[in-house]
């Protein structure tokens, strides 16, 4: 131990003279006889490989096994008529995809997913920005209110859905209260097929609102006050100032919230499972993720479920890339 420490001191004292020009020191090493250089290079390659094995290989191996291989595998299973309950499986080409894209209940699930995504992205952004503008002030009160809006973000979707379910079911806390104040026929928030999907989307907006508020507050904090003051002196009203200064400068915030909200609404499963289980009626709130899980793990039709997953994968990747491209271009032009 003592010897090692002495060695370290030695290297430190050497390095204090060489640190100024580390590159020259390495060049001097290279100026050794050729055979020595070959060995050195071989050793270097070994060290490279060793470093790669320690630093990257574990991550790469786990990512490959859990994400990459399953993606490719899912795409492959989608071209078969595989059922988990039946031993024989055959390749059936695009049959599953043709079936799905002409199947009303799959198209309904696709439509539901897109509707939920649109509602969540639009309303969470609009309300989040409005609340951020309202809370963009210093002081203990505003700090406290920020925490209030942020609390649902750290709760699980299961908990949020159970809370709202206890409020919104037919004989739940809301309708019991409505009846007691004289409303004879309150709406079936989760049992009316025409309303349920809006209730579900609103609950998602409620849960993710705090996320948008925090991102927009950070964006607002980054806008120099001189800009607004200058515009104010030039006679611009609050609305004109918002349109000319605040909104364009919040472009990066809009990109972050939109992409994050899209990713989380495309995969919505938990809320559907807890609130409506896909119903009421035939799949009025079923989403693609919900259909995939039902088809694969309840009905055991893994071939069909994988074809659904493949379609979902393409839509998610395409939508995210397009939105990212459009929003980032907007960031650059302003």
């Amino acid at each position: 131990m003592a010897r090692r420490r002495a060695g370290e001191e030695w290297t430190v004292s050497i390095s204090s003279t060489t640190r100024v020009a580390p590159t020259r020191e390495r060049d001097e090493h290279r100026a050794t006889p050729r055979s020595n250089g070959v060995i050195r290079r071989g050793l270097r390659r070994w060290q490279e490989a060793g470093t790669f094995a320690v630093f990257v290989l574990p991550s790469l191996a786990v990512f490959t096994a859990i994400v990459f291989v399953p993606i490719v595998w899912t795409l492959a299973i989608g071209f078969t008529d595989e059922r988990a309950t039946r031993p024989e499986t055959s390749f059936i080409g695009f049959d599953n995809f043709v079936f799905l894209l002409t199947n009303p209940s799959f198209l309904q699930a696709l439509g539901n997913t897109l509707l939920i995504t649109a509602i969540v992205v639009i309303f969470t952004n609009a309300l989040g920005l409005a609340i951020a503008l309202m809370l963009h002030k210093s002081g203990w009160l505003y700090n406290l209110l920020r925490s209030v809006f942020f609390t649902p973000v750290i709760l699980s979707a299961v908990i949020v859905s159970v809370i709202w379910r206890s409020i919104l079911v037919d004989d739940g806390l809301l309708n019991t209260t409505l009846r007691s104040i004289g409303v004879t026929d309150p709406p079936g928030w989760l049992s009316d097929p025409a309303i349920a999907i809006y209730s579900l989307s609103s609950i998602m907006v409620w849960q993710m609102l705090g996320f948008a508020v925090v991102v927009y507050l950070a964006g607002l904090a980054g806008i120099p006050t001189e800009l607004e003051e200058a515009a104010s002196i030039d006679g611009a009203g609050p609305l004109a100032r918002f349109r000319a200064i605040t909104w364009p400068l919040l472009a990066p915030s809009l990109t972050i919230t939109t992409v994050m909200l899209m990713i989380s609404s495309f995969k919505v499963y938990d809320q559907v499972a807890v609130l409506t289980n896909g119903g009421p009626g035939s799949g009025s709130t079923a989403t693609i993720a919900f259909e995939v899980i039902q088809t694969a793990f309840v009905e055991q039709r893994t071939g069909m479920a994988s074809a659904m997953a493949g379609i979902m994968l393409i839509i998610v990747a395409a939508a995210n890339l397009i939105v990212l491209r459009v929003l980032q271009r907007r960031e650059v032009t302003h």
């Binding site: 290297t11 060489t18 580390p22 020191e25 470093t51 790669f52 320690v54 630093f55 990257v56 574990p58 991550s59 790469l60 786990v62 990512f63 096994a65 859990i66 994400v67 990459f68 399953p70 993606i71 595998w73 899912t74 299973i77 609340i131 309202m134 009160l141 209110l145 209030v148 809006f149 609390t151 750290i154 709760l155 699980s156 299961v158 908990i159 159970v162 206890s166 409020i167 806390l173 209260t177 925090v214 991102v215 950070a218 904090a221 915030s253 990713i263 995969k267 499963y269 693609i288 993720a289 919900f290 995939v292 899980i293 694969a296 793990f297 997953a309 979902m312 998610v316 995210n320 960031e331």
Partner: protein, 274 residues
């Protein structure tokens, strides 16, 4: 215009009050008997009772305690492994500046957007093949693989901000790549590590689909899945369900309050940079 400055705080309090109402209902009703929950959900618990909490904690099937043990194990181990692996991987990818590093990052970024439902069928098969299906290590493996892209992405941004000279100095001083990383780079990555840890902690604790399918009923499941199961059991017993959720949230709430700063900073890092 300045005459109306009192509008803002009042409006803010009213809006926040309405927003908080569902959480208020969930909290006050933990301390009321279930009959009172339905009769007057908004009333404060005038004679607060701990019966609901005691009922959940002493359930004969031990659903809460086994769930808690599983959640703590699964969340703790998954987030630590993911953070360590991602930090090393991100450091290598940034510093080696190789073309394939960029390709790998692209593939990983696509992995960020993948809904877990899409890859669940092959994942359960791979786990069954290697004998980790319905085990906590199997669920940990899935979490590490699924959340790695996010963690690598966050770390890569931070590694770029660390001056290269520091590492070169350590390298010249004779420290190996591994030692340079652990003694010089990793401590400097502390803010990034904190952000990654808190995000993973909250996400994994709240995760529903992965533990539901990977852990299954056999090995016992997490508290989050336990809540889902307990709605079936209690059906109408709101007090008990709220108490279960209350207890299941306390650990993640404490964790969040401890690292709050880093959570918000991690969320807003990209927003302020632009």
């Amino acid at each position: 215009m300045h005459r109306f400055t009192w509008i803002r705080p009042i409006l803010a309090v009213v809006v926040a009050g309405f927003f908080f109402l569902p959480l208020y209902i969930a909290i006050v009703n933990v301390f009321k008997p279930s009959s009172e929950v339905i009769a007057s959900p908004l009333a404060l618990p005038l004679q607060p009772t701990l019966d609901n909490i005691i009922g959940v904690a002493t359930r004969p099937d031990g659903l809460f305690w086994s769930g808690l043990a599983n959640s703590i194990q699964l969340t703790g181990v998954s987030m630590v492994i993911t953070t360590l692996l991602a930090a090393m991987c991100a450091h290598y990818l940034v510093r080696s500046e190789k073309a394939w590093g960029r390709v790998l990052l692209g593939i990983m970024l696509l992995g960020l957007m993948i809904p877990p439902a899409v890859i669940m069928v092959p994942i359960t098969r791979i786990l069954r093949e290697i004998g980790l299906m319905a085990t906590v290590p199997g669920a940990i493996l899935v979490n590490v693989g699924y959340y790695l892209p996010f963690a690598v992405f966050v770390f890569m941004g931070f590694v770029r901000s660390i001056p290269r000279d520091l590492e070169e100095a350590a390298w010249v001083d004779g420290a190996g790549k591994f030692r340079t990383f652990w003694q010089i780079v990793f401590p400097l990555l502390r803010p990034a590590s904190a952000s990654v840890l808190i995000f993973l902690g909250v996400w994994i604790w709240n995760d529903f689909l992965t533990p539901l399918l990977v852990l299954g009923p056999g090995a016992g499941n997490t508290v989050t899945v336990g809540i889902y199961r307990s709605i079936g059991t209690y059906l109408r017993d709101y007090g008990a369900v709220f108490a279960f959720m209350f207890l299941a949230t306390i650990p993640v709430l404490i964790f969040y309050l401890l690292f709050q700063k880093h959570f918000v900073r991690g969320l807003t890092g990209g927003a302020t940079k632009g």
